[in-house]
């Protein structure tokens, strides 16, 4: 804290470094554990004692994408020889891949749910960020009657407990046929994220000097041209950071997806745990599905690292 130059101070500093590294490792160990489980042979995933050393394999990921059945007898050597390498991995584990009438491999529901997650998250992010950015510009540059109250109202919609909102939404969606549709979830996620986008973008736009636009207006731009050609490029970083936050929120959302979808439009978060209770509990496959689902968020967290504080505090705290 104070200027450390004494021997005791240097020692204290070294202890702090060791403690920080140790704590970071402890914090990351659950993530390491689920990741390693995704690469384990089935018997080692739930072995006692837990296996730390194992030969990594990608069989769980092959299983994740396919429908399988338990083998009843030994595999026909000719079939085994003709099988591609990834099918051999499954056969080695005592299971065979399910095939349809044409002999094509039948995919599991996972890729569908993953694509649903992508479609719904990306579309709602685009909508929320577009709406949020123009609204933030409106609040930032023009006098709006009752501005403070309106901004508070916008933020408060984000604070509502999801289940409380889901009860009437379920009934309304059922009445208009939006239950289990992509559009239904997209609308809800947009509503959920737009409040966040307004608050965050307002901070970013407030930081862009008004003089830039005024100079553009003097040069003969209209206000709209100035917004598109001067303000938006200046706000690009902020827009990108806001978009990543909105994407992660939509990607991770569970309660609305659980209540408002069940098959066609179901996203990955309600789907992944539903696999735990059904049939054979293959934790390596669940782990593989989890790791694949968490990967985009892990990557985005690194891209966002300098904006995390700002995003997490709705733009209230800036560095």
């Amino acid at each position: 804290m104070a200027v450390v130059s004494t021997r005791a101070g240097r020692l204290g500093s070294r202890i702090a470094v060791a403690a920080v590294i140790l704590i970071t490792l402890i914090f990351l160990s659950p993530i390491y554990w689920i990741t390693s489980t995704a690469f384990k042979p089935l018997v080692q995933a739930t072995s006692i004692p837990p296996s730390v050393v194992f030969e990594p394999q990608i069989t769980p990921f092959v299983k994740l994408f396919t429908k399988r059945a338990q083998l009843t007898g030994p595999v026909d050597p000719a079939v085994y020889a003709a099988a591609p390498w990834w099918e051999k991995l499954v056969l080695d584990g005592g299971e065979r891949l399910a095939r349809d009438g044409n002999g094509d491999v039948v995919f599991s529901a996972y890729p569908d749910r993953f694509v649903n997650s992508l479609i719904i998250s990306i579309t709602s992010t685009l909508l929320a960020v577009s709406l949020g950015t123009i609204t933030a510009y409106g609040f930032s540059r023009f006098r709006v009657k009752g501005e403070a109250d309106l901004l508070f109202f916008i933020l408060s919609t984000r604070m509502l407990p999801p289940i409380v909102v889901a009860i009437p939404m379920f009934l309304m969606y059922r009445a208009v046929g939006l239950n289990d549709t992509h559009i239904g979830l997209i609308i809800l996620y947009t509503a959920f994220n737009v409040s966040f986008a307004v608050w965050l973008m307002k901070g970013f736009i407030d930081e862009i000097p008004k003089e830039y636009e005024e100079a553009a207006l003097v040069d003969g731009y209209t206000r709209m041209q100035a917004f598109f050609k001067v303000v938006l490029p200046e706000a690009a970083t902020g827009i990108a950071a806001t978009a990543v936050f909105c994407f992660i929120t939509a990607w991770n959302e569970y309660a609305f997806a659980l209540i408002l979808t069940n098959r066609r439009a179901q996203t990955a978060p309600p789907f992944i745990p539903s696999q735990v209770g059904t049939g054979l509990q293959d934790w390596t496959v669940i782990a593989a599905g989890t790791v694949l689902f968490l990967l985009p968020v892990a990557i985005f967290t690194f891209l966002l690292r300098n904006h995390l504080l700002r995003g997490m505090s709705f733009g209230a705290i800036r560095k």
Partner: protein
């Protein structure tokens, strides 16, 4: 003369071409506000209506107006009182844990360190992950027979998630793991904003470490710590995903899970709308109390 003013004032000159500023403002602001009214305020008014009826979304039976019966029944139901007190205890344990771990980490990190940026980013990973998926893989970690936690700590076959006394704490530990980094992130921002000259002055005055911490660091970081606590209290009160996926132990049932079961498993739409409103009012009250406290802290 008017021409001259128009040339000098860029705003009014622009207004003569394209959309006027007022039009742009309205077009930019009104759609979002309307959108939120249609998809948040209107649904809530809709369910306010249902909270005074015996409506069941699963049946086509005629709906009757029952007045405040649903509210009275909800407040008289011992199961709901139990879940409320469980939730309150969960909020206290979880937020206190996050506060201690998060602030402690921030104090450790608030010094020049090798790879500080990388370490901070890695520490922040848990809070970005999907709560339901986090709950799921902590189930793997907590498993009584082959979970790594019991093995690593030598706890035998401790049934973390099915034991009535332990389940709530097991969920809270996961939540603390996930959200301590959030408190850490905000605390670090607060700590780095404390002016260095205050520490120099304290060191010249030969002030002790405890004195410096309690009289300089803590008061200056307090406002930002309060923001962290508000956000986490609100979120912990609303907890659904993690607890719902991790444990079915009735002693660890949180109010959101109870609401979910009432509304979507038992289809008691009327009573669950009433409970939803009680929760909504509580959320608003907590926010109010904290905001008042926050403003006091700011004035100092």
């Amino acid at each position: 003369m008017t021409n001259l003013i128009a040339t000098l004032d860029p705003a009014s000159r622009a207004a003569s071409r394209g959309w006027s500023d007022t039009t742009i403002r309205n077009v930019f602001v009104i759609p979002t506000v309307l959108f939120l009214i249609v998809f948040n305020v209107f649904p809530l008014l809709y369910s306010l209506g249902f909270s005074f009826t015996d409506f069941r979304a699963s049946s086509k039976a005629p709906i009757h107006f029952v007045g405040f019966k649903n509210y009275i029944d909800t407040l008289a139901d011992p199961v709901i009182w139990r879940t409320f007190s469980t939730t309150l205890w969960y909020v206290i344990v979880s937020v206190a844990g996050q506060f201690v771990v998060g602030f402690g980490l921030a104090l450790l990190l608030n010094r020049p360190l090798p790879f500080k940026g990388l370490l901070t980013t890695l520490l922040m990973l848990p809070m970005m992950l999907s709560p339901v998926v986090v709950g799921l893989f902590w189930k793997l970690i907590y498993d009584p027979s082959w979970g790594i936690l019991n093995y690593a700590l030598g706890l035998g076959k401790m049934a973390w998630l099915t034991d009535a006394k332990l389940a709530l704490y097991a969920v809270a530990i996961t939540d603390i793991w996930m959200w301590s980094p959030f408190v850490m992130l905000l605390s670090l921002a607060g700590l780095s904003a404390v002016p260095k000259h205050l520490y120099e002055a304290a060191s010249i005055d030969r002030a002790g470490k405890f004195y410096t911490f309690f009289r300089i660091t803590l008061p200056l970081v307090a406002p930002i710590l309060l923001i962290a606590v508000i956000f986490r209290t609100m979120e912990a009160f609303k907890t659904f995903d993690i607890a719902f996926v991790m444990t079915g132990q009735p002693a660890a049932e949180l109010i959101s899970s109870r609401l979910y079961k009432m509304a979507f498993q038992q289809w008691q739409t009327g009573p669950s709308s009433a409970l939803a409103y009680i929760i909504l009012i509580m959320v608003l009250c907590i926010t109010n109390i904290y905001v008042k406290y926050l403003n006091k802290a700011k004035e100092r």
